[in-house]
Amino acid sequence: MFYRENGQFKTSYRADQQIFPIRQDRIAIALLLVLAFAVVPLLASDYLFRAILIPFLIIALAALGVNVLVGYCGQISLGSGAFMAVGAYGAYNFFVRIPGMPLITALILGGVCAMLFGMLFGLPSLRVKGLYLAVATLAAQFFSDWMFLRIKWFTNDSPSGSVSVNSLQVLGLPLEGAASKYWFCLSILVLMALLVKNLVRGAIGREWMAIRDMDVAAAVIGIRPMYAKLSAFAVSSFIIGIAGGLWGFVYLGAWEPAAFSVDQSFRLLFMVIIGGLGSVMGSFFGAAFIVVLPIALNQLLPWVGGWFGFAPSTTVVSHTELMVFGALIVWFLVVEPHGLAKLWSIGKQKMRLWPFPH
């Protein structure tokens, strides 16, 4: 009923090409932003901020980056953890070595480092496809693990190889409180999401998708695979790198290479596939799913156990958590192989026609 676009006539191509052509969507997004920026900070507790919202926002940003590469350009990558690490350590080095380096600049420079690193390890994609590429990108992962453990310079010669930052400031304001950190991450996420959306609905996005869908045809209409793939790697790893910087600076505060282990890479790939390949919104769904679900399970299971009158031990809980998590992933893939975003759009279609069945 209320979700209709009839009567909304486009009189210009500009109007037709905006991100949310349907008015209701625009309103919904506006409300959502208000909610995220203004309402959530009022409601959320310190725990929600520090343990769930902030990591969710950062991981969502990383997932967005992965989605550019995997979802839009069709290059499966398992090197995301490495790109995060490079972003984090890159930003760290700029931050501690150049006095007075502002946080945001450091993060961006970290992103640039990740970008270069990503393009380097993206080169194989010019020759290798699909799962071969996925495994090949693991090389980036293990190489960065090694690099940050072995090369002292990157960790500012700390004996243990772990690094830490503190007294962060953004535009002169201290970045200490949970809420301020939340706002910072949220703003970056929203901004990046907007930029990515612009890219994927523009010429470069069409090049990526063309390469993904039918690379030969793409080449024949004059798209250079080299440029398309490397640009995808560049944009993707830049975003992932920034996410890595945030993960280190804002979420952990002090970290070691293991904080960006290969598991992180797998989880990120999970997110974009569960969430929906080639969908900005899907990245967020996926991130929510992977970040929140295990924690939720971990806390709900004892609770559920309580109903049935027994308090499961930590061991039982953590094993059950693993099993349920695995089962749910399979279940979701079976129900909707194209990810949560697809469910979402189906729902929208139904809403359009509701209450009439097509």
Binding site: A28, L32, L35, A36, V40, A44, S45, D46, Y47, L48, R50, A51, I52, L53, P55, F56, A60, V96, W146, L149, R150, N156, P159, S160, G161, S162, S164, N166, S167, E176, Y251, L252, G253, A254, W255, E256, A258, A259, D263, M281, F285, A287, A288, V292, L293, I295, A296, N298, Q299, L300, P302, W303, S313, T314, T315, S318, H319, E321, L322, W344
Partner: protein, 441 residues
Amino acid sequence: MKPRSLVLAALALLSATTLTTSAWAQAKEQFFPLLSYRTGPYAPNGVPWANGKQDYIKLINARDGGINGVKLSFEECETGYATDRGVECYERLKSRPGVTLIDPQATGITFALTEKVTADKIPLITLGYGLSVAQDGMAFKWNFPLMGSYWTGADILIQHIGKKEGGLDKLKGKKIALVYHDSPFGKEPIPLLQERARMHGFELQMIPVTAPGVEQKAAWLQVRQSRPDFVLLWGWGVMNATALKEAQATGYPRDKMYGVWWAGAEPDVKDVGEGAKGYNALALNTSGQQPKVVQDILKHVHDKGQGTGPREEVGSVLYTRGLIIQMLSVEAVRRAQERFGKGKVMTGEQVRWGLENLALDQKRLDALGFSGVMRPLATSCADHMGSTWARVHTWDGAKWNFSSDFIEADEQILKPMVRAGADKYLADKKMTRRTPADCQS
């Protein structure tokens, strides 16, 4: 649902659960958040450790009815040895009423929490692990690497080897290989060993093993090639057992191998059995069920069916270490109560003072039933370690036997290094040392 509103739904759910869970711990109880890992690659070592801590809490409640009447409560949170899950656990439990202190049980999580505890005013105790430089209490107000750090451990090992050779000067021209877990944990001792190598003129060969350490053939081929006089084993979890097996397979004499105290427990040698015969490792504590405290636990906890783990594992090396950690925590609360009011629930800050003013002489240890389990220990504002003594024990194929008496790490070497490290830390952080006045707070 839009993504964030989706999350919010989940969050609402979570907050509900967190509320229900926190209902267990009334503010009248001294709450101990227990970060543990009972699953994943390091579970075999993490489990007895966690069990020890839990059983001691249960003992105090069952036997003494708490600390001066203040009941102890706890909640365990599974980190799986992963940093982000550890942080989540910390954030989940830190705001519970009566929260006492945190023992993360993992070096990686320790790093991530070092920044946070300062802001949240919760002491962070890392018995025998964590940041070596954190011994300097004037720089690290909230960190307590009690009873030893990787630096003291490495130092004691070198001293012990020197003794066996008949004097540290005999180490000249010798070759010592460090086979280490390729992570901050494994790399921490390197600076001290390099210092010692410079002093005594032995050659230090460093052989990293990629975590978790299931594949060490290359490492031990290198050992076989360079034939070092001694091998220091800086491993954790599966790495230790694998190292011993590879040593056996490449014919390196086990009695020339010396492990840190994280490479000297039953899970490390259990299924190597005979193959590990003669292997030495540092010991912060005894093992076995003779000590009075262990007997008490069997009597008051396990016989009541309240035991956390299997009865036969009670008193194992890491279990006993768990006991000590928890005992020190409890004693810190007790000490704090002496100053801030008996029978009250202590805040993190008050507990911190207690940790800083621990004084456990032999008499006290005997009273606690820890006679022979550990050496006396006394912390101070400047020294957050309290004791730098440790022993070496040797595996005879069935159990651990002590093969040296207590050795103290060398002040002369450690002090300047700790001081320098702490100063660098403060400089990087643009912070200043605590004033003596601050010690009174």
